[in-house]
């Protein structure tokens, strides 16, 4: 059982034979090149903590936080050691003892609100120009003054003028006219699409409608809870899960679509684990909810069975497109082919990059609390994108988009970074 406490993971911890295989794939180890940054090191530390050889010391916490939750270790571990569950359990201990550092909590609380689209961020979006200046060639911002949490070199994303969900509010919840034969789809936005990339949300709705779906955007939806899980705040994540259940249960839906790899991974897998002890009834509801969740690319290709871009006529010039596999889509949900099929349908020329499944370094709040470290991981990704010579780097996660934009900007690479669904509507 996952998301459980460290002590219940004892036998999984002892499954680690200390072979060191994970050293070859762990991105945090790849940067630091020291054992505590590897999965083997972190697993050993958790064992040592359980055996009371060490306490929740600052050093322990530092090492446990140096993980981007990319699951590369798990994918390559010959003994199925659930490294991520182990690390999340350790972070739960840290959170329960009130030792999670403030900036982590702030990120999780700020973004992971129950009422996304109706809080302080709204104000922030209005006043951000005081603090930031726009970078001309990029859709990003550079800070004007020293700011806490904002690193000097960082290309900060611009908050949307109008948040995705709020924009919907002024219209109606329901996107298109009711037609019984259409597949009924609920759209789960997620924080990053809501606050920063509403364009991805719009593109998703467009494509879905063009593909013949009937789309609902429940306005009471909230954050998926992954930021809270990431810092070990299980109670917080539970509240969000319940809220989302209620928001989507109001409608009769066949599918729940998301264009965020991380949200999708959370909605599919983590909800069940979060609400595991809350009674059979709730379990059934979660089961029902999670079984409907689809990443937008798999929904389009597999469930709606689109065989060509629903948008005809290439108007924009044909570009070279490369694709980055988000950890939470490729390893988390096992989806690799569908986004590539969509890129093919878009009419652009596809060029595979070296190591497309390597983590971009975002790692949720890791990018904010360990900015330079995170960009160091990203450097390899940015270089791999650069060597393809692509004009467009496509991916399927707004978090990755944010991170890759920043990395390419710092390398001086001009390639556009987009979500795959934007490619099949960009042509419109």
């Amino acid at each position: 059982m996952s998301l459980s406490s460290l002590s219940t993971l004892n036998s999984q911890l002892s499954n680690c034979v200390l072979c060191g295989t994970c050293r070859s794939v762990c991105p945090t180890f790849g940067v630091i090149n020291r054992e505590p940054a590897s999965a083997r090191g972190k697993v050993s530390l958790c064992s040592a903590f359980l055996n009371k050889e060490i306490t929740l010391s600052e050093r322990f916490i530092k090492h446990i936080n140096e993980c981007v939750l990319c699951a590369a270790c798990e994918e390559n571990c010959p003994n199925d050691v659930p490294v991520i569950d182990i690390i999340l359990a350790a972070r739960q201990e840290i959170f329960k003892k009130g030792k999670t550092d403030f900036s982590r909590i702030a990120v999780s609380k700020f973004f992971g609100s129950e009422k996304i689209g109706r809080n302080a961020l709204k104000v922030a979006s209005k006043i951000q120009n005081i603090f930031f200046k726009q970078v001309p060639e990029e859709s990003g911002l550079h800070r004007r003054f020293p700011l806490p949490f904002v690193h000097g070199k960082r290309l900060a994303p611009r908050l949307a003028e109008k948040f995705f969900l709020e924009d919907r509010r002024q219209k109606t919840e329901v996107r298109s006219k009711k037609d019984k034969s259409q597949p009924r789809i609920g759209f789960f936005a997620g924080c990053l699409i809501n606050y920063i990339y509403p364009n991805i949300g719009e593109a998703s709705l467009n494509v879905l409608e063009k593909a013949g779906a009937f789309v609902v955007v429940p306005l009471d939806q909230s954050c998926c809870g992954m930021p809270a899980i990431g810092i070990g705040d299980i109670e917080g994540a539970k509240r969000l899960a319940l809220k989302n259940l209620e928001a989507f249960e109001k409608y009769e839906l066949e599918y729940i679509a998301t264009a965020c790899a991380t949200c999708g991974d959370g909605l599919k897998k983590r909800f069940k684990e979060l609400l595991a002890d809350e009674g059979e009834d709730l379990q059934k509801r979660v089961e029902n909810f999670s079984s409907k969740v689809r990443d937008i690319t798999e929904l389009l290709v597999n469930d709606l069975g689109i065989r060509q871009s629903p948008v005809s006529g290439l108007r924009s010039p044909v570009s070279i497109v490369t694709y980055h596999d988000p950890c939470h889509l490729s390893r988390g949900q096992g989806i690799k082919d569908e986004p590539r099929k969509l890129i093919e349908m878009s009419g652009h020329n596809f060029k595979e990059m070296k190591n497309p499944c390597k983590c971009c370094g975002m790692g949720g709040s890791f990018n904010i609390t360990n900015y330079e470290f995170s960009m160091e991981i990203n450097r390899k990704k940015a270089l791999d994108i650069k060597s393809t010579g692509a004009d467009i780097a496509a991916t399927t996660c707004p978090g990755c988009i944010m991170q890759i934009k920043d990395g390419l900007h710092q390398l001086g690479v001009k390639a556009k970074v987009v979500h795959v669904v934007e490619l099949i509507t960009l042509n419109n």
């Binding site: 072979c19 060191g20 070859s24 060490i54 050093r59 090492h63 010959p78 003994n79």
Partner: protein, 462 residues
């Protein structure tokens, strides 16, 4: 034992960012792949020979143990600080210093990861053959110290066949160079060969000059399944005696096949008793001719099926499976006593039959895989250490397996080294006089016994 003064001095040598003394960090340098733990007192990350020299001089003066460490993937406990002391991690010394495409040589620092080095030279059309299954994470320094080998040994030899020269810091602190950049060289004793396989007990290697080969044009990969281990072993022997040298010839028994198939699900034939994974490389026509001949030999020895890998992806999958065997065996039983005996190649069938008998006699699960091409068998006695009877039976079984190996004209370790794991058995193979001269060699290099103490030779008289 570790005074603040020593720590201060060490800090002065390597710099504040390159020394660890907190318990949390020491724990991460207390283990290797033997799954045993010994806490060091300090871990340092030196940048080069000069710093290491200062550390070793200080160790002689202050009398503390120094333990070199690569990736900590060793199977005999070589990098474990069994008596505490300072672990010298070579993780920071990980630069490829030079690849000479005209003379086909390269110079590397010891912390370079073997597989990364291979990828680098292959991108230049060159080839560094030694391929321990741990190649994706082990270091070349660790390979040199253990004289690591791999599947390609049957055709290409092991690490020692590629080391032309070394820069080594002696335990007393002097830095020496051995060998030369050239393929030949007979000036003085061959210290290079002495250091290779010395398990970090005679000096700390700080630079390695390696020999490279041209990258073979093609590689053919085949998988043959046999109804019985005896057939597989016979097929392997007949391939060699028909004067074909495959570039690899690995055998995998059914226990091992089950464990990796369970992990990877790539469709390995799990209902057979044994698999041979065979490769041949070189000129395209020749490789194909050899592949055909080997396929025929397998079928003549009752192979149920012989499949050729269709593309690079299939080859990659097969090798991923092969390399995952050792760590995945945990599925059979929680603890593993792993031995890597070698017998003359034509004695493999006898060795396997003998091991099977021993397994039955002691009622143990023994999983075997290894390098049929060079007679190296990885014998894994899978037990639950908390079961005291099983543990003592396993120890008896291991001793019998060693006796069997030596009777067949073999050796008790092909590539993993002695370290602490095989220390009690060294006397079974080596005469007292041989052990004595080795100890005297150690004494000459390391009079105070500060470098990697407690390894290879059991304390006291044997």
């Amino acid at each position: 034992m570790f005074s603040q003064n020593i720590i201060k001095e060490l800090t002065n040598i390597v710099g504040r960012d390159n020394i660890l003394t907190k318990r949390e960090d020491l724990i991460c340098y207390s283990y290797d792949a033997t799954n045993q733990k010994f806490l060091p007192d300090v871990v340092v990350f030196p940048r080069g020979a000069e710093e290491i020299s200062l550390i070793l001089k200080m160790a002689n003066f202050e009398d503390f143990p120094v333990i070199p460490r690569g990736a900590g993937s060793g199977f005999s406990g070589g990098s474990l600080p069994v008596e505490g002391g300072v672990v010298v991690s070579l993780e920071r010394m990980n630069r490829i210093l030079n690849i000479d495409t005209e003379n086909l040589t390269a110079v590397v620092e010891p912390g370079v990861v073997t597989g990364e080095f291979q990828a680098e030279v292959e991108s230049l059309g060159l080839f560094y053959p030694p391929d321990p299954s741990s190649l994706k994470f082990c270091t070349i320094g660790g390979n040199v110290a253990e004289c690591a080998g791999g599947p390609r040994a049957v055709k290409y030899g092991v690490t020692k066949d590629y080391v032309l020269g070394l820069e080594v810091v002696l335990p007393t602190g002097e830095t020496i160079n051995t060998g030369a950049q050239t393929l030949k060289g007979v000036v003085g004793y061959d210290l290079t060969k002495l250091f290779v396989g010395s398990e970090g007990t005679l000096g700390i290697v700080t630079k390695i000059i390696l020999k490279l080969l041209p990258l073979p044009a093609t590689t053919k990969t085949m998988l043959a399944a046999f109804p019985d281990m005896k057939n597989a072993a016979r097929a392997a022997s007949s391939i060699i005696s028909s004067k074909i040298i495959p570039s690899t010839m690995e055998f995998i028994d059914k226990n091992c096949v089950k464990c990796v198939e369970d992990y990877l699900n790539i469709g390995l034939p799990i209902d057979t008793d044994a698999i041979l994974l065979i490769e041949t490389d070189g000129d395209k026509d020749l490789a194909e001719k050899e592949a055909d001949a080997m396929r025929k030999i397998c079928l003549d020895n009752s192979a149920i099926e012989v499949k050729t890998a269709k593309d690079k992806r299939e080859v990659k999958e097969l090798w991923k499976a092969r390399r995952a065997i050792s760590p995945s065996l945990k599925k059979l039983n929680p603890d593993k006593i792993n031995e890597d005996i070698v017998v003359p190649r034509n004695k493999i069938p006898d060795a396997i039959a003998g091991i099977q008998k021993i397994a039955e006699k002691y009622n143990l699960t023994i999983a075997n895989f290894g390098h049929a091409g060079d007679g190296n068998i990885h014998v894994n006695v899978m037990i639950d250490k908390s079961n005291k009877d099983e543990l003592s039976n396993a120890q008896k079984a291991v001793e019998e397996i060693f006796k069997l190996t030596l009777n067949l004209g073999g050796t008790i370790s092909g590539e993993h080294g002695i370290g602490i794991s095989k220390m009690p058995y060294i006397g079974m193979e080596l005469s007292p006089a041989a052990i004595d001269v080795m100890k005297r060699v150690k004494q000459v290099f390391d009079p105070k016994g500060i470098l990697n103490p407690g390894k290879i030779f059991p304390k006291g008289r044997e």
